[in-house]
Structures are given as structure tokens and as C-alpha cells.
């Protein structure tokens, strides 16, 4: 009799202990979840896990200071939001995106159906989005000032993502009263190719597809780093010319820019790699003519064929790269490049490696060699 009683007590004690440990485990788990979420390369946003919500902070590219913070969460979780932070209900079902890179990122995590408003259709390459615009299911906003509150309400858009430019969004306050939030996306200011691609995580959290986003990014990161490593031992440092004339001035990426970084990672000897700056640098046409003597490869001249290139400026025919025929530009018209390039820098890297002759057997994703 007493043994059974003991057994009972033991069982209850055990159960209690288990319960207790389970509870403590949960507590500890929750404690572990609160804290920074890893953002490895991107410099202009931060993600933090908080109690019941994810804090997304957009940082000003110039100062690094916080420009805006959003709390992404479900209202059913009743999270406690500090003052000054906007609460965005996730997953966002209907959003407007004002840059095609955003379309590319949403496409990568299979969340195109959240796009109910898009940027100017002349810049869009994605056929699904184009069809949506044609049929009227997706509103076509040519730029920030062309957004009418009526179209936002009609499509029940709750979030507008735009390329941040340091100043506030036009009519931001009025939009807030309509329960439409705006989010500045600074992926275009990221210099590191992987930093730019990492913004896919923002879209992941916004659409509730953060797992997919993280997985996609890891894949991209792995591919990029592996390709870069394999090219690091190349002795063939081919020289490359980038850019074209606009009016009387030649614009080319500066040495610390996004494009220059990928070129360096691909093993290229970029002609203006020593130029300081993360934007573009300028040259006179004469200067470029002198510089490009003997440079075998030319990328991004902004033309579709050699004839087209010559039409733009007959003197291009004097360029070494033109004469050797090694001129490369985007193949599917530039829209596809701008849409898909940001989130897939490993494709650009691979393209450059192939163009430079440092890698063989891989097809070109964005670029094609200009023919006559």
C-alpha cells in the first residue's frame, strides 16, 4: 500500500518537474529569441527580435542613424510597442513597391501575389506583374507623386515600399491616416553586393516568409563566396572598361562602388578601380579614349548591338574592345537586370567571371556579347 502511494507521489513529482522544466525551457527559449537577428552585410537596416514582434529599423545611409523603426507583428499577439514605432500587421497582404528590385526580391520568395501596386510599367520585366498591370489588378504608379489615395484604398494597400532618398515620402502623414504605411528601402545605397541582396530578409519578415528569405539568401551567399574563392587564384587579370558617354561626359562606376566590387571579386582589373567613391566617376571622352587603349573588354555601354553602339557615337568604333568584339551588355533589356540583379549578385559575379574568361561552361544570366 505505501509503495503505491510513493509511486503516485513520484509520478506527480516527476510530472510536476517535467512541467516545470518545460516551462523553464520555454522561458529560456523566449529569452534566447529576444535579441538581434543576424544581418551580415547590409548596412542600412537592422532586425531585432522583441517580445511578440520583430523590430525593423531603417538606417540613414549618410549618418548611419536610425531613420525609422517599424514593429512587425500580429495584433492577435497583443505585443507591447514602444512609442514612436509604427506597427505593421504581418503578413502584409497588399503592398505597393516603387522599385523593380523590390519585385525581384518578392519574386525570389514567391510572394508576388502581395504586389498590388507597382512602379512604372516601362521599367518592369516580370511577366506576372506586367500582366497584372495590364489587367488592372495591379495599380501602375509612375513615381512617388503619382500615388492617388483612391487607388491605394481600392487595392487595399497597407504598405508602400519606396527607394529612400533621405527626405520623407510625399503626403506621408495623410497616408498614415488612411492606415497606409511607407517604408524606405535603401538597398540601392548598399555597396556590398551581398548587402544589397540581404534586403530580401526585410521582405521575408514583411510577408511572413522569413524562413524562405533566409534560405534564399544563404544560398546566394554561399554561391557568391564560393565563386569568389575559386577565382581568387586566377592569374589572368583581364582589364575591363565600364560605362558610356552621356552628352560630353563619360560616367563609370567609382572604385568602391557596387559594380567595381563585383568586378574585383570576379578577378577583373577594372580600369578605374583606383577612383575613390561609391557612386560614379566622370571622365572626358578624350581621356577615356586614351585610357581604353588596349583594354580588351567593355561592359555596360548601354546598347543592344555593335551597330546600335556605333549609331550612338561613331567614335566608339575606334575602341579596342569594339574592334575585338568583346562588348557586353544586358541581354533582356536592362529591366530584367535591375529587377533580378540586386537579389542575385552571384549571377552577376558568374557572368563577369565568364566574360573575363576566368570561368567556363556556365551560361550567362544577364549579359550577352554584342553582335553586329
Amino acid at each position: 500500500m505505501e509503495k503505491r502511494k510513493n509511486m503516485k507521489y513520484c509520478g506527480v513529482l516527476c510530472a510536476l518537474l517535467l512541467l516545470f522544466s518545460a516551462c523553464t525551457d520555454n522561458q529560456q527559449d523566449r529569452k534566447e529569441k529576444v535579441g538581434s537577428l543576424e544581418v551580415k552585410y547590409a548596412k542600412h537596416f537592422e532586425l531585432k527580435q522583441r517580445e511578440g514582434y520583430v523590430e525593423l529599423c531603417i538606417l540613414q545611409p549618410e549618418t548611419g542613424k536610425m531613420e525609422y523603426c517599424y514593429a512587425l507583428g500580429k495584433s492577435s499577439d497583443k505585443p507591447v510597442i514602444p512609442a514612436g514605432m509604427e506597427f505593421i500587421e504581418i503578413p502584409v497582404k497588399n503592398m505597393a513597391v516603387l522599385s523593380t528590385t523590390h519585385i525581384g526580391m518578392l519574386d525570389a520568395i514567391d510572394a508576388l501575389n502581395t504586389i498590388k501596386g507597382s512602379t512604372d510599367k516601362n521599367f518592369v520585366a516580370n511577366p506576372t506583374i506586367l500582366k497584372g498591370i495590364e489587367s488592372g489588378k495591379i495599380a501602375n504608379f509612375t513615381d512617388e507623386s503619382a500615388i492617388s489615395p483612391e487607388s491605394l484604398l481600392e487595392k487595399q494597400i497597407s504598405l508602400v515600399v519606396y527607394s529612400g532618398f533621405g527626405k520623407g515620402f510625399p503626403n506621408e502623414e495623410k497616408l498614415k491616416r488612411l492606415h497606409v504605411f511607407v517604408l524606405a528601402d535603401y538597398d540601392w545605397r548598399e555597396e556590398h553586393p551581398l548587402g544589397k541582396a540581404e534586403w530580401i530578409k526585410v521582405f521575408g519578415y514583411l510577408t511572413g516568409k522569413e524562413k524562405q528569405a533566409n534560405a534564399y539568401f544563404e544560398k546566394v551567399e554561399k554561391s557568391y563566396i564560393e565563386t569568389k574563392k575559386s577565382l581568387a587564384h586566377q592569374s589572368n587579370n583581364s582589364s575591363v572598361l565600364v560605362g558610356s558617354l552621356l552628352g560630353d561626359v563619360w560616367y563609370a562606376p567609382a572604385g568602391e562602388s557596387y559594380m567595381a566590387t563585383i568586378l574585383k571579386d570576379a578577378g577583373a582589373n577594372y580600369i578605374y578601380k583606383k577612383e575613390k567613391g561609391t557612386g560614379s566617376c566622370e571622365r572626358t571622352f578624350e581621356q577615356v579614349f586614351k585610357d581604353q587603349q588596349g583594354i580588351p573588354i567593355w561592359i555596360n555601354p548601354g546598347a543592344t548591338s555593335l551597330t546600335n553602339l556605333k549609331q550612338q557615337q561613331p567614335k566608339y568604333a575606334l575602341f579596342t574592345a569594339f574592334q575585338s568584339g568583346k562588348v557586353y551588355c544586358y541581354s533582356h533589356k536592362s529591366n530584367y537586370f535591375w529587377e533580378m540583379g540586386a537579389v542575385n549578385p552571384h549571377w552577376i559575379l558568374s557572368d563577369f567571371a565568364s566574360i573575363l574568361g576566368n570561368q567556363s561552361g556556365k551560361p550567362l544570366h544577364f549579359y550577352q556579347q554584342l553582335k553586329n
Binding site: G247, T284, F289, K290, K315, L318
Partner: protein
Amino acid sequence: MTKRKVHICLLFSLIVVLLIAIGFPHGNESWFEWLFPKKGQEQVQFLLFKEFRVPRILMAIIAGAGLSISGLLLQTLFNNPLAGPSILGLTSGAHLFVALTLLGTGFISGPLLDLSITTSAALGSLVFGLLLLVLASRVQSKISLLLIGMMLGTFVSALTGILLSKSDPSALKAFTLWSFGSLQQIQYSQLPLVLIVLLLGVAASFFSIKPLNALVLGERQATVLGVNMRKTQWLILVIVSVLTGMITAFCGPIAFVGLIVPNLVKMFYKTGNHRELLIGSMLVGALFLLLCDLLIVALEPYIVLPINSLTSLIGAPIVVLLLLKKVRHA
């Protein structure tokens, strides 16, 4: 100093500046490097000289002369020292056609989209020149023609503005770049055509010297003296349309040269004889634009200035000075 001596001085100055421009070091070269190139650089230097510098320098001379002649002819025809091709709306015509080509809002410009900017600018100027000729034959007073030209220009600018507001950023940028003007867009192979048109224009303008001399006294007196007003008007408008059209076609719009140079020449020559004024305007115009371009080359290592901005930068204060001087006279 007789006018002949003045002309010889001007010609001499032009030749000197021309030589300076030819040999001027671009970037970190040395003077006349193309004549004495470094080893292995012969081909490059030769190409630089032939394809880049010769067209640019010659175009400066041609455009300077052509625009100044146009300005002089128009100023006497309209008895207005502030007249120029832009006042008549000729350059606005070029603007509109180039805008249509670049900004191409489908429903208007189908065939225009295939034209190069050069062709469309030339077309625009000529079409408007023709329009003005037709209007001139129907309108009695010179002031009316001038006003019509101005209104035409304003109207067309408004149209262009609407086109611009509907266009995408790359087209807008292309249009803006064109409107900066450039002496570097012309190719070596196009030089003969441009030279021939200029020479024809100059030759034709010599036929207008006599009528212009009389026009200084007003239309009525000129008619009594024996000037055929219709023919003279026609001749001048054709010369101006063709010269301005061609220059705008290859260089984009270049402001102020046609306005200030004739006035400068008149101020210093103090004569009503259009033969002297014509030759003077050509030489001074060529010299002015060549100097402007030389200045741009000298500043290139620091900042690239568009030619249109430079001519306006220098031209606007000069116009103000001229006006102040006029006020003091009157």
C-alpha cells in the same frame, strides 16, 4: 584704324587662338603632343587630333560665325538689337522636334522616332523657318512678325514642356543633355557638309548687305530707296533658318552668340555698313566661341562645363551692360 586693318587684326587673332586650341594640352599632356607623340602613342595621338580635336575646333569656328551672321541679319531686319534666332522661335522648333524624337509619346511621333537627333533638329528649324516665311508674307508690320515669332516660340516651348512632363527619366536626361549644347558631337566625316552649308550661307548673306544698309532707315525709306522688301525678308529668313538649323542640328542649342556678337561688333565699329559688320561678326563670333571652347578644355580636369551654360554665363552680363549703355544713351 580702317576697317580693313581691324579685320586683319581679327583674322590674325583668330589664327593665333586656333593654333593655341590645336596645341592645347588636354589633361596631363604636353603642348602639341600630337605633333611629337611619345613612342608607341603615334596612332592614338593622331586619332585624338583628327577625330576629337579638329571637329570640335572647326565646329566652334563654324557655329560662332554662322550664329553671329544670323543674329546680325535678324537684328537689322527687325530693327531690334535683341533679336536672334531664338526670338523667332526657330530654335524652339528644333527643341520640339528633338523632344518628339526622344520622348516619343507614341501617338504623335511614330516616324519621328527613327530619326536621329541631328535630322530632327534640322527638320524642326526648317519647318519653323518655313512657317515664319509664310506668316511674314501675310503680315504687314515687322513688329507683328516679331511678336508672332515670339508667341510661336512660347507655344512650342509649352508643348515641349508637356512632352517632358510625361516622359521617363532616361528620355528626360537625354533631352536635357542635348539642350546643354555640345561642340563634340560632330564627326570628322560630317565636317565637309557643315562647311559647305556655312560657306553657302555666308555667300548668300553678302547679297543681303545692300538691302540691310538701307533697312537701317526703316522699311518705308528702304522701299523708296529701291529695296524689295519681300525678297529681302525671304532671303534673310532662309539664310537664318538654314544656318541656325544646321548648327542646332549638330551642336544642340547654343545661346547668346547670335545675340551679343553683332551688338559688340556694332558698338566697336560704329558703322551702318553691313559689309564691315558682316565680316566683323563672322570673325568675332568664331573667335568668341573658340575661346569659350578653349576655356572649357582648360577647365576639364576640374569641371566639365556645357557650352550652352558658358555662353549664357558670359553672355547674360554682357547683355545687361549693353542695355545699361543704351539707357544712358537715350
